[in-house]
Symmetry: C2
Subunit: 351 residues, 2 copies
């Protein structure tokens, strides 16, 4: 693994100076039970230089093609700027709070507008009702791209207008976060369109759009905040291959530039272990020299009726993503208001 | 899975017309042994519309976050243009043959220049010797990005010049294929730089740069041919999760726009099953209405001494990627000439 991910030539081909400078160094190999072994490999920073794509290329590149090899942890160099392009979130928790005018000490509520198949106007009406009910962030479902009934440009315009209208009417500060995931040029073009339309944030799936999109969006001027969606990420919990979820979503995506990271909540449709969710939540927020903390966004299984329970467990530096269970309520407005109230009550003592 | 990958709302939330038009439909569920089940799901083309990123988002999106779910096959609609952005390779096998002046009926030889740590001039000298020895394609190792000793722009210039010099001197038609994998804007910028420098092809890793890069490169004017590298692809053979290699590398990357696809050869460092390699090789080339065939590029375990064996097995519509084992020879020029001769002899009866 250490050789495959760096020099990729048999021993003896590279001059000794290069072997010394660029070859991954095996620090230890320890039996880990069930016939598996835990290896610690020290990769030279010079091999990682370039940004998030090359970082993943070294940490979990060709070895994704091998059975039974999993990346279970990573420690990034404390002197992070040496690994170019890993400068972390542009906005982070503080920036998203400012965009949504959500003061410290309270969690935020995010609702996805969906399903695909609704027209741009139908999605806009949904967004308007949610914002008027006090929802902080209204995001596109990650399956909304450029489909017929709600093509990107039309959806962006209609939903942005509806959210602005709702804010003006209700005195709220709801933020619309459109999904920009597509091919590379198209993704960046949509980000620019979104900013022009007044959006403060965008949603992107790094495993589909390419992980380097996080850093490039963070360097845009002006830069929207970036909410990262885990679709297609190679991190099924307890898989034999792939990347441990807390490593990819908690450590690497934050370092790469995500301001907020969505992950499947424990007990939901994906049934991720609570310990894993808690660790993602911790890694996104933990003090790390020189980079902002990112907002953890548990979702995919936050029932509207259980949001108070999760608010107590995760604490205030969290965005709760409530989706399908809310949309299933017959009185959407009342249900949304109840979720918003429950989340505020949990941390501030007042709804 | 069918609901998660399309509507992503509980039953009853979406109006019946939308359930009918956009929901994945479970065709069958069959026991597949070991407590597993094989399910066939029919996804509506309207849900896939947009391009390769959305195609993967529906075929293997959120379900990558579930343990034990694997995508084992896909049948794309015969009327492919309805799935926008799946127009296949721009150049395909014929285009790469034309670029390298390699007539039909013979296989091609590709050698990776590496390792990282060599300077741009050292890599250029290596490329020059390989081209003078008759190697058709000289590609960057996928670990060469923008590192200190051979930053992209300098490497591109030096290696391009060296290959042009070798061609002029030896009457060959060697092609340099630089690695452009980075963040989205940077990847496309490097592709344009490569074209300006006279490169006929580029190397990109779709799982790092984002799969949509294949379609966007295919639509560039002028468009380089695109060689796709599998690093970080979620396709360990026989994994419990992920995507079967022949599906991602053989069917989807070709449909998305790859002109040539690298995959780990049987018996090599990755030890992929021969049946899997043969199937990737077949899928890349099989006649498919409206799209070009793509070049299969077995590598990662093609020993210079065994290339004749593999040439006989794979046949002439193949690019043989020979790397480390060639660079390990004390007389690189003689070893490269021997590989080129062996491959030509295998199909044309003359070296």
């Amino acid at each position: 693994v250490a050789r495959e991910e760096t020099l990729e030539v048999p021993e003896g081909v590279a001059p000794p100076t290069i072997e010394q400078r660029f070859l991954g160094r095996v620090v230890s190999v320890t039996p880990a039970g069930d016939g598996r072994y835990a290896a610690i490999i020290d990769y030279p920073v010079e091999a990682l230089r370039e940004g998030p794509a090359q970082l993943l290329n070294v940490l979990y590149g060709n070895i994704s093609l091998l059975g039974g090899v999993r990346l279970i942890d990573v420690a990034l160099p404390a002197d992070r700027p040496v690994v170019a392009g890993l400068s972390g979130p542009r906005h982070g928790i503080g920036g998203i709070r400012a965009a949504a005018q959500a003061r410290e000490g309270r969690a935020l509520v995010c609702v996805a507008i969906k399903p695909m198949g609704l027209t741009a106007d139908e999605l806009a009406r949904l967004a308007e009702r949610l914002v008027r009910s006090g929802v902080d962030l209204v995001k596109d479902d990650h399956g909304l791209t450029d489909q017929g009934p709600a093509p990107f440009a039309l959806r962006l315009g209609r939903v942005s207008e509806a959210v602005a209208r709702a804010n003006a009417h209700a005195g709220t500060s709801g933020v619309y976060v459109p999904n920009i995931t597509a091919g590379p040029a198209e993704t960046l073009a949509r980000a620019r369109e979104a900013v022009r339309a007044g959006c403060r944030g965008v949603l992107v799936a790094p495993s589909l759009a390419g992980v380097g999109v996080l850093g490039e969006l963070a360097r845009m001027e002006p830069a929207p905040f970036v909410m990262a969606h885990p679709t297609h990420a190679p991190c099924a919990p307890e898989g034999r291959e792939g990347i441990a979820p807390e490593v990819l979503l908690g450590t690497l995506w934050r370092a790469a530039g995500a301001d907020a990271v969505i992950f499947p909540n424990a007990g939901g449709r994906f049934d991720w272990p609570w310990a894993c969710c808690r660790e993602i939540h911790r890694r996104l927020r933990r003090p790390t020299e020189g980079i902002h903390p990112a907002f953890p966004v548990p979702g995919g299984g936050i029932d509207a009726g259980r949001v108070a329970f999760w608010a107590a467990r995760y604490g205030p530096d969290t965005i709760f993503l409530v989706g399908g269970s809310l949309l299933a309520h017959t009185d959407l407005d009342a249900a949304a208001r109840a979720v918003v109230a429950a989340v505020r009550l949990a941390h501030t003592g007042t709804a």
